[in-house]
């Protein structure tokens, strides 16, 4: 190796970031985006209930049946009052079709579960250098619900916390719930009230010396977290997590099983101003036996729970979403199952901000590829974001100074403008 210094940045980074930040903040609205913001649906969806069907739900056996085609298999297609067909598995949903719209032309390139889920939920493809925030975190950041509730803004049921807050940090993270029937974890003392009081009194005494000496914001933050947590523990709001407090007749509408319980809890939390609830519903990775009784039961159970959600929740202020990481192959494999198929799949949207009663987009005769009106994960997020009132062109910087938008971004190399990738599907918005 020979030593020779090549060019090296002469300018201090911070000067640059200041200049760059100014120029970025000064960008004019991208024409398409500002138009959409003018749309009347913008911001109607104050709250969201989001069913995520992990494993990859078959589109042909749910929202995009292909009657008469050899790929259809034994599942039948049934009509709806709105005129489009859905699978007979979804009978409970059929009569509510005026309330929801089906997107039949979801399309992506990612055939692995984690990567597919990540893409659909964040509007970005997965990278090893950043974690993008879930759409829920974007809502909290840019279009939060105004409420006095002491409850967390985002609860995710039967799902981990990934990708969660992404680069936005723990204030934008969900509270994950494992079992919908066991309430908010650790929200009640494990000892009698009297002993608990006694313990708290000790903590206060032992804290005195330390908290007097150290006044950093981190220490003060913990003092406050303790206060808030104690407030929450004695708050009536906490009952929102208690499913047993739900009227029996009402709860029965959702059906039985943990998925149904999760949906019922989602509605209960939603009514108590939990802004965003994810219900993770698994069992869709049907590589084998997709037409067998237990697989069909999963479809029917979901249909019943989603139908009950649409009926029980206030659709004027709540949007209900149903999405999955990819579809399943039209070809029925040797194990009577279907394999991963990101090329074409379905989603469903309903409620606040959404124009119901339609089947949007068209796949080819075997449901293999998208014929018209493709909807990418970025487009889906742009549509949902618009209904929530999140501006598509509002840049949020990661701590490392990289710019991001709610529905994906690219950069115009000439103008250096950051441009949204996702385009909202106007037909789906009011």
């Amino acid at each position: 190796m020979s030593v020779g210094m090549k060019r090296w940045s002469d300018l201090a980074r911070r000067d640059f970031s200041r200049i760059a930040a100014q120029s970025l903040l000064g960008v004019s609205l991208v024409p398409g985006a500002s138009q959409v913001l003018a749309q009347s649906s913008a911001g109607r969806a104050k709250k969201v209930i989001y069913f995520f069907l992990s494993g990859g739900m078959s589109h042909i056996d749910s929202f995009d049946p292909k009657p008469g085609s050899k790929v259809q298999g034994p599942t039948e297609a049934i009509g709806t009052p709105s005129g489009f067909q859905i699978s007979s598995n979804f009978e409970s949903l059929a009569s509510l079709s005026d309330h929801f719209s089906v997107i039949r032309t979801m399309t992506s390139q990612t055939g692995d579960h984690q990567g597919g889920r990540y893409y659909v939920r964040t509007g970005y493809k997965r990278l090893a250098s950043i974690v993008h925030p879930d759409l829920a975190a974007w809502k909290k950041k840019l279009a939060p619900l105004k409420t006095d509730s002491t409850l967390p803004f985002w609860v995710s049921i039967r799902e981990g916390s990934f990708p969660g807050d992404g680069f936005m940090g723990p204030n934008f993270a969900p509270v994950p719930l494992g079992n919908p029937n066991s309430g908010l974890p650790n929200s009640a003392p494990m000892v009698d009230d009297g002993i608990f009081e006694e313990r708290l009194e000790m903590v206060n005494t032992f804290n005195e010396m330390f908290t007097r000496r150290f006044r950093t914001k981190e220490v003060r933050a913990y003092n406050e977290f303790y206060e808030h947590a104690l407030e929450l523990m004695s708050s009536d709001d906490l009952e929102a997590f208690d499913l047993s407090k739900m009227e029996k007749s009402r709860r029965q509408k959702f059906g039985s099983g943990q998925g149904a319980d999760a949906a019922a809890l989602a509605v209960r939390l939603n009514e108590n101003d939990v802004e965003y609830v994810h219900v993770n519903w698994g069992g869709w990775d049907n590589h084998s036996g997709i037409f067998e009784a237990n697989a069909a039961q999963n479809f029917r159970g979901l249909s019943q729970a989603v139908a009950a959600t649409l009926e029980e929740v206030n659709l004027d202020e709540t949007m209900v979403v149903l999405a999955t990481e990819f579809g399943r192959s039209p070809r029925i494999n040797e194990n009577r199952g279907r394999d991963h198929h990101p090329l074409a799949f379905s989603a469903m949207v309903a409620g606040a901000g959404i124009k119901g009663g339609q089947a949007y987009g068209k796949t080819d005769k075997n449901g293999y590829a998208v014929d018209d009106d493709p909807v990418s994960p970025e487009d889906l997020n742009a549509t949902l974001a618009t209904a929530m009132g999140i501006p598509l062109d509002k840049i949020v910087f990661s701590p490392s100074g990289r710019p991001f938008l709610v529905a994906g971004h690219t950069e115009d190399l000439k103008t250096r403008q950051i441009i949204p990738v996702g385009k909202p599907v106007k037909d789906l918005l009011i």
Binding site: M1, A128, S161, V203, T205
Partner: protein
Amino acid sequence: MNSVFQIAILAVLLTTAQAEVRLWTDSKDRKVEAELVGVESSGSGPIVQLRGKNGKVIQFPFRLLSREDQSYVKKNLPYDPQRAAEQIDALVWEKLRQANGDLKLELSRVMRDSNLSRADRLQKKEEIEFEISLTHPTNQLSDEQFVRRVYLDIAGRIPTYQEATSFIDKAGNEKRSELIDELLLSNAFTSHFFNYLSDLLRIRSKLTMNGGQGLHSGAYHDWVKDQIRSNRGWDEVVKELVTAEGTLWENPAVGYALTDLGMPLCNLSNTFTVFLGTEITCAQCHDHPFEEVYQMDFYRMAAFFGKVETGKLDPQKTQALEKETSRIQGEIAKLNLTTTMGSGNSMGEIMGTFRYAVRDGDVNRTKLPHDYKYDDGEPLQTVEPATYFGEIVELENYSNPRVAFGDWLTSKENPRFTINLVNRLWKFVFGLGQIEPVYNIPGHLDGQAQNYKLLTYLESLMKDLDYDVKDFLRVLYNTEVYQRVACADSPTMAMIDKGRYHFPAPILRRMSSEQMWDSLVSLTTESPESYQSRVLEDYQQLMSVDFSTMNGKQAVKFREDFRTLNQRGTGMNSLDRRVGGEMMVRASEMSLPASDRHFLNTFGQSNKLLTQNGNRLGSIPQVLMMMNGKLTNETLSDAKSQIMKNAGSIRGEGDTVEAIFLSILSRYPTPEERTFAQRSLKRDRKDESVEQAGYANLIWALLNTREFMFIQ
């Protein structure tokens, strides 16, 4: 290049030098048998001190030694951590004094400034006075504070009751530096520093991002721990990480490249961030907006790895393996096993692990992206390797471009390699980098660093120590500034950003999630480091099996062994380590990252997907877990828990209170605290459970104090 003399000026005669007796030759070919005992500075250059066979010390000018001897001296330079620590202290105090003087001048200028409104002046005054307060050195740590801090910072956990008391009761002037030495050599340090590296390098239990079962990478974890244990030079470790070839069991260092399987460009970005403190990710898609890094530069750097293939086996081997797999599967099927094995445990999956290897192919596949829009290249054009700063690499001297990259990256001449390392280690010890953020070091450091002179000194010190991380840390822990009580106030973001926090002491930090968890482990178990998840050797042995001679029965056994081994890698079969229903082993020996609902996750453990994304921020779920969770209510107060055993074995209420305080806070209670705590301990010789309930309350209360969570 003269940095060797910088330390020479500091070095003194070492009484503890373990130098060897060897033959020395001077430039006039005169020879003497002697050992190296020290180096001193003089007006005409460094003087080497040699002790001859007769015990007499000879002074010899460095420049008159033969070349070979000179390089021996450089390599074996006795270093005195105490002297280097004093030098750091001197530079810190100098900076603090200077800043204090400047701030006072600024204050008097502001107070006289008639252009300022009264309100503005008062606000400015307040700001400046706050900054002035952070130029005053804080108090020296007491022994109680020292033992707790140094255990948390080096061993990664609080000291046990015995460890705390034996240090506090010990006499002697050297006891602090002795403890530092002892801890740096301990398994506890390996565990703690592994957690740090696991966060930095995104070391996780299962590699690949393609879903499925994932590849268990315990062998890589063990390798990293071995590097820490044997204290191999950081430059060598890094070089091996970026150049390793083979499977995980042949060469565990490939774990670094496999972490970003199928994403070589991201791997490059991460390499720059982690080892050079340079953020070039954005140049993957476009020219860097703030710095002089062009998109072409990114691809030229990426091209050093253009021939690397991950996840691909040579076709012949694949065929052979597939043939064996289907034969063995057939034989297993014939065994008619009653137990059902899911597809996740099939032989195919195990054999698939052979594909996860790093190999150097023949063809450079680095191409510009399809939408490349600058005029210095065409879309999809192949790019040749070249560096864009630092030394120019002469590729013709290398058969493998990756090795050229490794040399360039870790060279002492690389302008960022050493700075990045010392800055990150300074943060590891003091809680904040000399330059923040640590992953984005600017081109010009003067004025950006909190103490530029000190940073320059640290850089030369690291080079002199030949990237010996433990020796470097030893120096930092021995400084007076480290051994001061944390600042009562934290510096503002603006101060940090402008390089105006000059380290009167380490900053006050909450424990990391691993430090908290490992502290709970040390409270509940007798010997916190006794469980080691090591799998490397067993893995190597298992995977060296010859599949062609394996029958169905052996395959079933093999499959079992494979699974057991993978579980051991994540501490899963350490059932005997359960206390009150929780598996109490150190975080470094568990699944990485821990599950979503585990204590470690709740308290901010990194998800290992991004470099250094563990956090120490608070949240309500954390506090709820501390108050109402199983750990603080059942595990700690379980009869098997060490702190309960300690408390129960001590007579006298006052002594029990003391023991519990020493166990959790590593200090004696104040008289008020003692009285208060004693009231809650109810003695009932007939009913032991009453007594234990009292301990449980006190333990719970101390764990819920801020003093427990924070490192003062």
